[in-house]
Subunit: 229 residues, 2 copies
């Protein structure tokens, strides 16, 4: 058939998932030990190939599930990488996706014999292919995103202290924040509910627990509020 589609190259399309996690020890990244050649045994982002009858978003979810058991993680698309030899076996372009999740809420699944592992940001090993570059870009995007919309819903336990929230932001931005200014900025967003309970684990005095006010949060999301920390 003589059309513009007949003389074209079909190409392997991969998806790589960059999963950031947060727990008491700070910000981490989820990696897997690659179980096939080439680069078998090396650390890698969570990747796989896009199928013909599948949308990229769906592929990202499927691939993440296949290698980690994680379910229902909402990821955002980042960038398409297309260097000719980025994968030495065969020409492959790869579209990266990322998400940020609460490690403690999800860890149980992970342990089920998937060979995924969390690495703190300071201890990320050398990754295969161009995955280092993908990760660097994702970190940049994560920081940027943090300044646009509050994150945190999925990252902290349902009830959390101001200190925990502060430390989450400090981990993502990797800089110190002024406690008083942080608290007043967060309060001015008016999306937290202060509970009567205190968390007694971290201090003698105990610190008040908060939870997100999901309704107000959704309402405010529409006007995409900016949080300058």
């Amino acid at each position: 058939m003589l059309n513009k589609y007949s003389d074209t190259d079909k190409i392997l399309v991969a998806v790589d998932c960059i999963i950031f996690g947060f727990d008491a020890d700070g910000l981490k990244i989820l990696l897997i030990k690659r179980d096939f050649e080439p680069e078998k045994g090396k650390w890698s982002l969570i990747g796989g190939f896009l199928k013909n009858d599948e949308v990229l978003d769906t592929a990202a979810i499927r691939i993440l599930n296949t290698y980690t058991g994680l379910n229902d993680i909402y990821m955002e698309q980042l960038y398409a990488y297309s260097e000719i030899d980025r994968d030495p076996v065969e020409r492959t372009i790869s579209v990266s996706y990322y998400a940020l999740i609460n490690i403690e809420n999800h860890n149980a699944e992970l342990i089920k014999n998937y060979h995924a592992q969390w690495f703190s940001m300071a201890e990320v090993p050398k990754l295969i292919f161009d995955h280092d570059k993908m990760l660097r870009n994702a970190i940049r995007r994560l920081r940027y995103r943090t300044s646009i919309k509050p994150i945190g819903f999925e990252l902290l336990p349902e009830k959390f202290t101001m200190r925990q929230l502060l430390e989450l932001y400090e981990a993502i931005l990797s800089k110190e924040l002024d406690k008083r200014n942080f608290i007043s900025k967060i309060n001015s967003l008016d999306i937290l509910i202060k509970l009567d309970e205190k968390d007694m684990k971290s201090s003698r005095k105990g610190s008040y627990l908060y939870r997100f006010d999901k309704e107000k949060y959704e309402e405010k999301l529409l006007n995409d509020f900016v949080l300058n920390l």
Copy 2:
């Protein structure tokens, strides 16, 4: 061969270029009349297929050149679209790219019988496939980008007046800006050189011409300065 690469689908990968242009009449978008089926004769972004031995960035440049004659246009990658039926002929994912250029500097090339045409933003026709969505997303990104880094280098003649620069920003942001505040913000960036010449075309008094100070601009780019207009 028994490896992870053997049971995978290869997929057509397209690139679509969203070229914004600016001239005295404001912001425009460059479209082509599609010259093959399906949707022959309809308006479309400037698109083509990625080749096996080609990087996406290069493909974007080649495709833009093929359909418009434009050369040396730096484009930025935006997003990969992958709906199953976005192209009714065959499964195709498409990666969008965008650029913003000065129409007057480039028009001559375009006229050479390429069937590309500029449309002012208010008069954009219905586009094929998901190109409307691509365009909407690109506009959003363009506006955002404007707030992050000064644009304008390539968009105005070498020497330009403050009014021209103001109108450029107003066109992109599609809102009015206060002239005095605009000028003082731009001046505070310290990347313009005020010339001794005046442009006498626009008024009896004449208005001073400026040019970009490329060195200072490059220097400041490193610290990615924010311009809140």
